[in-house]
């Protein structure tokens, strides 16, 4: 017993007082991309470099959200945060900021352009769940990295429980679902049944680029092109996988009713 206590003292107190204290992330962690105003001309190096087709080049004929009519539109919902676009751009027009706050309430808000715009508020208030939010996690074709980084929120560094948020064993006990993966055809029924078993009102959080857009598995008969094809989604947390802090941030946002930040 004594040696356990001795070791306990050595292992220290490790929980971060998030969000009051913000975590220090590795220098090479990419985080939120930022699109700078450069003159692209005929260049489409970033779009060509992207493994998931997350980038579209805008023009006055084909403008992007918020009315941007030039430069790249980067869809974080399809993005793997691999940085290939930033390396490919000869003018340094795409920059990764290291900011882990990525979640949005609306699919279109994940599309970044050079024109910043206010975030769309949630389609309904999450305040009902402000003190207690129980989620059932469903992996539907997820590669186990998104799942692992949700699971890790239960460890003592993040201590999800102290926010009143828990991952529960049954959809019957849940206020909503946290879905990962491109919704494989073979898991579609299981996902829909789990959703059906969750009492209303219920939230749906899509975690990871697979769940948001199909990610690398897009346009394949065995997968979907995003959870929204099947279920109404309340919160989108992009990344492949999103950093645990991004997921935690997304879950905390799910309980609010305002969107007081910009994309």
């Amino acid at each position: 017993m004594l040696h356990i206590i001795r070791e306990r003292l050595h292992q220290k107190y490790r929980t971060l007082d998030y969000p009051r204290v913000q975590p220090g992330l590795p220098a090479r962690y990419p985080g939120r991309p930022e699109i700078l105003a450069v003159h692209c001309g005929d260049c489409r190096a970033c779009a060509d470099a992207c493994p998931t087709g997350a980038i579209r080049l805008l023009s006055p004929d084909a403008p992007g959200p918020g009315g941007a009519d030039s430069g790249p539109a980067l869809d974080m919902g399809r993005c793997l945060f691999c940085g290939a676009c930033a390396r490919a751009c000869p003018q340094g027009g795409i920059r990764f900021t290291g900011d882990h706050h990525l979640a949005t309430f609306c699919r279109e808000d994940l599309i970044l352009t050079r024109v910043p715009r206010p975030l769309t508020p949630p389609r309904r208030s999450g305040r009902l769940f402000a003190r207690s939010l129980k989620l059932r996690q469903v992996s539907a074709g997820g590669c186990n990295a998104c799942e692992a980084d949700i699971n890790v929120l239960g460890t003592l560094v993040y201590d999800l429980g102290k926010f009143g948020i828990d991952m529960v064993a049954s959809p019957r006990h849940a206020d909503g679902l946290a879905v990962t993966g491109p919704v494989s055809r073979n898991m579609r029924e299981g996902l829909l049944a789990t959703f059906g078993a969750t009492p209303q009102p219920r939230l749906v959080v899509a975690v990871g680029s697979c769940a948001i857009s199909g990610g690398l598995f897009r346009d394949n008969a065995e997968c979907s092109n995003g959870l929204e094809e099947l279920l109404p989604v309340d919160v989108f947390v992009p990344g492949c996988p999103p950093h645990p802090w991004s997921i935690l941030d997304g879950l905390l946002r799910a309980r609010t009713d305002t969107a007081d930040w910009t994309v």
Partner: protein, 498 residues
Amino acid sequence: MVLDYEQSVALADVPVMSAEELRQEVLEQVRDGGRLLALFGLPGNGGAGLCAIVAHSGDRFLRAMRTAPLTQYASLTPDCPQAHLFERELWEQWNILPEGHPWLKPVRFVPHGCLTATPGERPGPAQLTHYRVDGEEVHEVAVGPVHAGVIEPGHFRFQCYGENVMHLEISLGFQHRDVERRLLGGPHPAHARLMECVAGDTSIGHATAFATLLERLAGVTIPERANRLRRLGLELERLANHTGDLGAIAGDTGFLPTSAWNGRIRGDFLNLTAEVCGNRFGRNWVCPGGVSVDVDAELCARLLDRLRHCWRDVREAVKVMFASASVMDRLEETGEISADTARTLGLVGVAARACGLARDARFDAPLSCLPLCETQIRVEKGGDVLSRARVRSRELADSVDLACTDIQALSHSEGAICQPLPDRLPAGRLAVAQVEGWRGEICHVGLTDAQGRLACYKMYDPSFHNWAGLEAALRGQQISDFPLCNKSFNLSYCGHDL
């Protein structure tokens, strides 16, 4: 024919035999201690023939054999049980019937091959018959696909007599994303990223296998620095996962200190990986031809310092767990498999080593000539949960040793990290890549067509072999032992379902 594991061969040089000859040859090789690395459909003339690859441990030469396209043959499984899943897969993908297969069912429930029935009639996973024990006092327990924890989906059917499990059948396929077929016609640059998502917890393992395969097909040797960086990535992946698994095993015995600490330390190892490549799971670390990230002396010093702290923490956390009588009592003799069963089923990795089989691709098919320092094949005799835990804890020490050596070497040197591959791969060649991921041996097999594009690509995560091991481990156990046994294997669902 024999081929050096590091070289590719022209498919034309692999002689075509009859199905019976191939069957006899495989059976003979396996009788001599060989292990079936791969048995898959080789596309050609409107159908597919069989292609088998057998490895012998301690021998750098693999045996490759093939047949002309066929529609049925006499199943190998009755004489060579480790062929069971390969044959089900062949049937599922190509509609090639292994006559006499004792339990022929689809593996992943894909809509081609044996399930070519009209759309709408496609059965989903777990919708076909399961093995069933009848009797008045026998009951059946069905679990999944959605489990209680945050975990991938799979379906488990237990045949129980009271608390005792007579048989467990595991039905998978829910995670099928059609990964292999997406590679056909490649390689494309995006495929390196796709490989990192075959099994997200083994990103570096599968990416390394894919890259190694392409390099062998192209006949390219990568720079030594790239080999070091790849090995560092693989060992960090092993450290994180072994740490997590030991914590999970502690958690399932109700020993919370180690469970809590290891959960945190696992994250610290992942964060070390992120220091190098920006991603906790090692995404963007490996690329065909080498690696895409380098480290400088300053980063190396930081990595080394943190690695040593993590090692101290995990070593003591695991020591505390093994010193607890209640943990030991719970782990010992739970979920036993004999060496014979393990050999018969063709288990690999931690699960095989825990039964006394000396199988480790780092020794059997090394990726480079980097010395392995003090590392050994960590073998245990018991075949139980304790042995699987012990193998992991010994391998932690080895991995730290290798990682420290590599970081020091990288810090004192410089050099190229990538040797780009030619735009086009040589035509009509077959190659094999074996990589010891943290679960066990990952095996990829690829074949190019006349234009040098991938005409056939097969990948075998260790889970492909080892799920049957978990089924075997549960026989004669209590159903309440399942979570603990499951954690001691910790297999991948998507790595199996692809």
